[in-house]
């Protein structure tokens, strides 16, 4: 009896979980569906008629593609800068002792806990007070600012989980500091840095609130969608949304496959008796 009850309890939780997952995935399916839709009017959000036109001509509204390209440029620059700054900070935090550590931790943690609205408006207040014209570069500055903390946290997690004895072994075998870093430390930390960079890019590409306050007349993809939602959304927006989703999914699939293969390769190395190829 109690076993039956527990069986039911198991299925009950799983059932609710699958319903919630449905709630989480429904909008993506709608976006994918709408990318094949020919809307009846500019302001209609309802499904009307199947068409492939949106996919054949994703840039029919050229403003939108300009905005996508601009978002990618901003995302790439912000990713490179924030990954560099954040990785250096993560190394200092994990590997070195210095004065002012707790203050610095606060400075890194606070941007992640502050509402975007507050960061966006305060940067706007600064740029206006300093007379800095707003546009492409103020967006980049803002994006680097909120990405750095996430990079630090991600790289730090990878670094502190690393076995220091591998580096000590390299040094004991007369590798120079640089060689040790180049051949041991960097390859081991690289997955963390790559993950941090991907996170930074996706944060930057998708940011609306902070960007909206600091963009001037520059239009990024989220800002284009925001503006278009008042004038009428071109269906190609859903093409971009679907394409983003598919690309991200492929990236995740590829990294998890690589991880599995690497683990299997490592097992094979361990299983092979020493001295044999």
């Amino acid at each position: 009896m109690s076993r039956l009850k527990r069986w039911l309890a198991d299925r009950w939780v799983m059932g609710v979980a699958l319903l919630v997952l449905g709630y989480l995935t429904l909008p993506i399916m709608v976006v994918a569906g709408l990318s094949f839709n020919r809307p009846s009017s500019r302001l209609s959000y309802d499904f009307n008629e199947f068409t492939l036109d949106n996919w054949k001509q994703p840039c029919a509204t050229s403003d939108m593609c300009d905005a996508v390209v601009r978002s990618m440029q901003i995302g790439l620059i912000a990713t490179v800068v924030s990954t560099l700054l954040g990785t250096l900070m993560a190394f200092a935090l994990v590997r070195h002792s210095f004065r002012g550590r707790s203050g610095l931790n606060g400075l890194i943690f606070l941007p992640m806990a502050t509402p975007e609205l507050v960061m966006g408006t305060s940067l706007l207040a600064l740029f206006v007070a300093a007379g800095v014209p707003q546009g492409f570069w103020t967006i980049v500055i803002a994006h680097v600012m909120f990405c750095v903390s996430f990079v630090v946290v991600t790289v730090k997690a990878r670094l502190s989980g690393m076995d220091r004895r591998l580096e000590e072994a390299a040094m004991d075998l007369y590798a120079s500091e640089w060689q040790t870093f180049r051949r041991i430390t960097l390859p081991l930390v690289l997955p963390g840095i790559v993950a941090a960079a991907l996170l930074a890019f996706s944060l930057s590409f998708d940011d609306f609130i902070i960007t909206n306050f600091n963009a001037g007349t520059t239009v990024t993809f989220p800002m284009y969608v925001w503006g278009a939602s008042q004038r009428g959304i071109p269906p190609q927006v859903n093409v971009i949304g679907t394409a983003m989703f598919v690309i991200a999914l492929l990236l995740v699939g590829a990294t998890s496959l690589r991880g599995r293969r690497a683990r299997r390769a490592a097992l094979a190395v361990v299983a092979t008796p020493a001295g044999k190829p």
Binding site: V20, L24, L93, L107, L123, N212
Partner: protein, 302 residues
Amino acid sequence: MSALAHVPTSAGKPAPPPVRRGRSRLLPYLLLLPGAVWLLVFFAVPLVQLASASLYDPAGSLSTGYAMTWAFGNYPDALQAYWPQFSRSFLYSAIALVLALLMGYPLAYAIAQKAGRWKNLLLVAVVAPMFTSFLVRTLAWKTILSDNGALVGLLRDVHLLGPDGRLLATPIAVVLGLTYNFLPFLVLPLYASLERLDPRLLEAASDLYASPLRAFAKVTLPLSMPGLIAGTLLFFIPATGDYINAELLGTPNEYMIGNVIDSAFLVRLDYPQGAALSFLLMAAILAIVFVYLRRAGTEEVL
């Protein structure tokens, strides 16, 4: 010092790095400098600037310039003018948080404890919504909740909605949108906590005649507290400051404080008021977080 560093420590802690004097002492500061300066100049200094903008003379304008008059009156004025939107922000995000907990806890529990080899796939499904644009996803809810959509039709047929009843442009739509958009932030930390939960503890509880409900209250819930606290904060902070859902799924009747701040800075160009509201929002959120952390940290939560 550098010789000692190579002696393995017995405490199981990793040995400190072999330090070379001179350059090494400066190295951490050099590594930290660019990032720290960036955060100082573009995160900390702007907050100070926002604080001082909130005390500007409200009679000034962007074109004539603002005079610093320590106008503390901006705060009560702004709060009085926009109290409905201010309180609505917290009300909506609180309701959304309750809904998210009701949905997110079973989901996180199922993935952590029941999913077996499907665990990774389900986790990807949780974060998958974040793979595509926030705004595009939110707009998809316009289609789902549309007056001509299947959902509204169904609810009208079973008389949960009147014949002219709507979902879109109502508080329900905004709260549903908030719940949807920030649910993954709640589920992920909760999952991380529940994943470490040893199922044998639950077996022990049931062996000792605890009902499933009691076992949940006495074992599962307390052990998941760190994830629950992190998750509720990661949900609540962005949800309260959000105004995209209110704008796209609601009407001016559902506007939250973000909509007001956005228009204060970008449309009405009333910087002192916008800055005062921004600061009030941050102060209110910080106060709630502080009280919440103290209560959750010091009291045994049932």
